[in-house]
């Protein structure tokens, strides 16, 4: 299991690292003196387990958990036994270790973590289309919901289990299907012109035979979809 350690006390991090080094199945990927640095790391990296101190200045362990959309398994580490009841209100918390932590108790906590199914693993690479609201479309990229302005999307391309969403500003790869995103988009703006492409018809530069030019992309138009495309255009 890949894990990270979050504790503002260096002594505590050194001790947890040492305890982890005595268990073959655990790899400490990183350690952080505060929650904010850990959040930045988790936006880019996936972990199986977090050792989390509750008492940290500015941002407590519980505050941190609430920022995580799909928290991995968490083992709380604290010098205070009084938070145990609150701790187990969170599904992701597998154990609660009171400092100073002894190896046999630590091993037991790791066993509990290993026996608990990981939501994060189930959702690995889980970039999904979440919801739409008015002109906005939210896509889930590495546990962050990113808002896209729908009119700024000019092309959506199917790529196996993923779709490429191209916007004026940036391109996004999302784990989804053309069908799912098509259902979320306004029909007056978007049209499926090919089994692998949905285009924003307001962004068409020109049409030639069985293809359309959108930005610098030449997109094929299937024979069956061409009549609908032509119908949508304001032809002279």
């Amino acid at each position: 299991m890949n894990c990270i350690i979050i504790d503002d006390e260096t002594t505590a991090r050194v001790i947890i690292n040492q305890l982890c080094s005595q268990i073959n199945t655990i790899h400490v990927a990183a350690e952080f003196p505060n929650a904010m640095q850990a959040i930045k790391y988790l936006n880019q990296n996936e972990v199986d387990l977090i050792f989390l101190d509750i008492h940290m200045p500015d941002f407590t362990g519980f505050d941190f958990i609430q920022t995580l959309k799909n928290p991995p398994r968490i083992i709380l580490t604290t010098s205070d036994a009084n938070f145990a009841i609150e701790a187990f209100e969170y599904d992701c918390i597998v154990d609660y270790l009171v400092k100073p932590i002894l190896l046999p108790r630590f091993q037991k906590a790791i066993q509990k973590a290993e026996n608990k199914p990981s939501k994060t693993k189930a959702l690995s690479n889980n970039n999904k289309i979440e919801t739409t609201s008015g002109n906005d479309l939210y896509i889930n990229i590495d546990r962050r919901l990113i808002k896209l302005d729908i009119p700024s999307i000019y092309l959506i391309e199917a790529k196996g289990d993923y779709i490429n969403v191209k916007t004026e500003e940036k391109n996004y790869t999302v784990h989804s299907t053309l069908k799912k995103i098509e259902d979320k988009l306004p029909t007056h703006l978007f049209l499926k012109v090919h089994r692998s492409y949905i285009i924003n018809i307001k962004k068409i530069i020109d049409i030639e035979d069985n293809s359309v030019l959108i930005k610098k992309d030449v997109i094929p138009v299937s024979r069956s979809n061409r009549p609908e495309l032509m119908k949508r255009l304001n032809l002279l």
Partner: protein, 104 residues
């Protein structure tokens, strides 16, 4: 009871480099945490001082001072209620640890 390395030794499993590393980290961190606690007591920031005591409790337990740990836990609770009861006892513990770390 005097401060001791029983916990650190058991944690090290004979790994002397880990033992040295942990002791050097404690030697660096403890005086800073102690100074922060004193500053907050002098400024009458009792709630923040309680958090400082909370952090210091861990060092107290690492050095095997079980009874002192209980005193620290009570003092932390007192500070949260703006009470100075056990302040002297707690500060004696800090001094004991300071003396011990100098000799390590």
């Amino acid at each position: 009871m005097k401060p001791n390395l029983t916990y650190i030794n058991s944690l090290s499993g004979g790994d002397d480099s880990f033992k040295e590393k942990l002791i050097s980290v404690i030697k660096l961190e403890f005086p800073v945490e102690k100074a922060t606690y004193i500053k907050n007591i002098e400024a009458k920031n009792y709630q923040i001082a309680a958090e400082n005591v909370h952090k210091l409790k861990h060092k107290i337990s690492i050095l095997g001072l079980e009874e002192s740990y209980k005193i620290a836990a009570c003092f932390e609770k007192n500070l949260k209620e703006n009470s100075m009861t056990l302040k002297e006892d707690f500060e004696n513990i800090l001094q004991t640890i300071t003396n011990y770390l100098i000799k390590l």
